[in-house]
């Protein structure tokens, strides 16, 4: 996933060819989209595939509208009561779980990363454990998280936390080591204390690696939390997806996946823009 970070940045279309090239690209994109949707619709209409597995675009569109725009849940927010589509409540729960996981995993990852980056001894002693634990499938820890934090949101927050901890700690440690020594010497010559060194020198100098770590961490935290919701939960977007599977409501499942991908890609692009801006 480390590669995905800068690949998005390099994906911007070239502007060398001027308007005509841009127009050609736009036309090709429209043609590709139209072709894909046309093939889908033809497959749905042909009856060659199961109609329920490949529903028509109209059915998916209707389901998307029902998901996002038809109020079917009475949501009490403070003293007011709102009628909203139930989806937003589930989305809010998932976002809150991911947010809590990111906060806990992010801050602890940052603290541990700073400690490892600043101290070569600690780094040599412990960083290899983290480096090799990073690319293991975190979802297999879910049974333990259920045991330790219960079947409610706690275990999902824990999944988000352990998912995002590793990329953030490794990015922070690597970022810390990349800081130019002259900056550190400037800080020392001003007799900054540890807290001042962290806030005035280290963190500003390692903004880019930290944002990259947060971006990677956010991606895996979303996956960890949602997968945990599909395994054992009664709320959240992950639960809605597996519920659509259990009730074989395929248009709803497609709608959920579309919305989820749009939200996830949008969030990733926002963090990516923050890193460049």
């Amino acid at each position: 996933m480390a590669a995905a970070g800068h690949m998005t940045a390099s994906g911007a279309p070239a502007r060398t060819g001027g308007m005509t090239l841009r127009r050609q690209v736009l036309l090709l994109r429209i043609a590709l989209l139209a072709g894909l949707l046309g093939i889908w619709e033809a497959a749905a209409a042909s009856g060659l595939l199961f109609r329920d597995v490949v529903p028509s675009l109209l059915t998916i569109g209707r389901s998307l509208f029902e998901l996002l725009a038809v109020p079917d849940f009475q949501w009490e927010v403070g003293i007011t009561t709102l009628w909203v589509p139930d989806f937003y409540r589930h989305l809010w729960i998932t976002m809150a779980e991911v947010g809590a996981g990111m906060t806990i995993g992010g801050f602890s990852g940052l603290a541990v990363g700073l400690a490892l980056g600043a101290n070569p001894f600690l780094s040599k002693a412990f960083e290899r454990f983290l480096y090799y634990l990073g690319p293991t499938p975190k979802i297999i820890f879910f049974p333990l998280m259920i045991m330790w934090f219960g079947v409610g949101p706690g275990s999902k927050v824990a999944m988000g936390t352990i998912s995002c901890f590793f990329p953030i700690v490794l990015s922070a440690a690597a970022g810390m080591r990349q800081i130019e020594s002259v900056l550190i010497r400037v800080g020392r010559s001003f007799r900054l204390n540890t807290w001042q060194m962290v806030t005035k020198i280290y963190l500003p100098a390692m903004r880019q690696p930290i944002v990259n770590g947060v971006r990677l961490g956010l991606g895996v935290a979303v996956i960890g939390t949602l997968l945990a919701e599909t395994k054992l939960s009664n709320r959240g977007v992950g639960f809605l997806i597996i519920d659509a599977y259990n009730t074989f409501d395929m248009p709803r499942m497609y709608s959920l996946l579309i919305v989820l991908f749009v939200v996830a890609i949008g969030a990733n692009a926002l963090v990516g823009r923050a890193s460049r801006g």
């Binding site: 690949m7 040599k124 690319p135």
Partner: protein
């Protein structure tokens, strides 16, 4: 983090790290034995160690390991063929690349593994669901890295090829492909790691297949030491896989 940095280790800090880990296990052992930690929530580390033999003998860990390896191998082969193929295609057709590269990059940031219920409907609760999730979730990085490798070929090399009057196909096989191979392998390696993570994850989630299912089954049986031992085994397999691919990458990219 560079591999060189990892190699240049001192013995004392490494021993200190291992000693801390062992001390942590001893502490947990003491806390559980003294009743400070509930043994139904955290088993004794010694019980976990002894249950390794039990799960290897009773739960067919070896055959499960080969099932997971087979799935990962199938997904990796599909990844290499399709991912590199798509990367080459996008490199050759510039307009197609300009139109779709951002889409592929967006797909790389989408939680594709969440499509597993859809794949369950399409392929049933079978080995193909597991393989296809591994394949689809890991495809974007392979495509993008192949593209990056081919585009990153130094112009001077291509000019040398042209000065020798190489045909486009010769230029591809003699110049572009060998020059891009290390970067392509980075993509394939990333893809293989993603595939393995997703394969074990989906095995766990749909309770089907090899090592992932073992963790699920043991946890559903409430066999806590066994669950811990199975998790340790999965971590061991991932780490060995990660280290092996890292070595191959180092061998392919000497001097980096």
């Amino acid at each position: 983090m560079s591999a060189q940095w990892l190699r240049r280790n001192d013995v004392i800090p490494v021993l200190f790290g291992i000693a801390c880990l062992l001390a942590f296990f001893v502490l947990i052992e003491i806390l559980v034995a003294s009743g400070k930690i509930n043994p139904f929530i955290v088993p004794k580390p010694s019980e976990i160690v002894t249950s390794f033999g039990r799960i290897i003998a009773d739960e067919n860990v070896l055959s499960r390991f080969f099932v997971t390896c087979g799935e990962a191998l199938a997904a990796s082969l599909m990844l290499a063929v399709t991912g590199i193929g798509l990367g080459v295609l996008l490199h050759r057709l510039r307009l197609l690349r300009l139109a779709t590269e951002t889409w592929v990059a967006a797909m790389a940031s989408a939680p594709l593994v969440l499509m597993y219920p859809l794949f369950l409907v399409l392929f049933g609760r079978s080995v193909w669901t597991v393989i296809m999730i591994g394949f689809v979730a890991a495809l974007p990085p392979v495509v993008l890295k192949t593209l990056e490798g081919l585009s990153g070929t130094r112009a001077v090399l291509i000019n040398v090829g042209r000065s020798f009057n190489l045909t486009p196909s010769q230029l591809y096989w003699k110049i572009l492909f060998p020059s891009a191979l290390p970067t392509i392998f980075v993509g394939v390696r990333l893809g293989m790691i993603f595939a393995l993570i997703n394969i074990v994850g989906v095995e766990f989630l749909i309770n089907f297949g090899g090592l992932g299912q073992l963790v699920n089954e043991l946890s559903e049986r409430y066999d806590l030491p066994g669950t811990f031992a199975a998790i340790c085994f999965v971590i061991l397999v991932s780490v060995v896989f990660f280290m092996a691919t890292e070595r191959i990458e180092r061998w392919l990219r000497p001097g980096t």
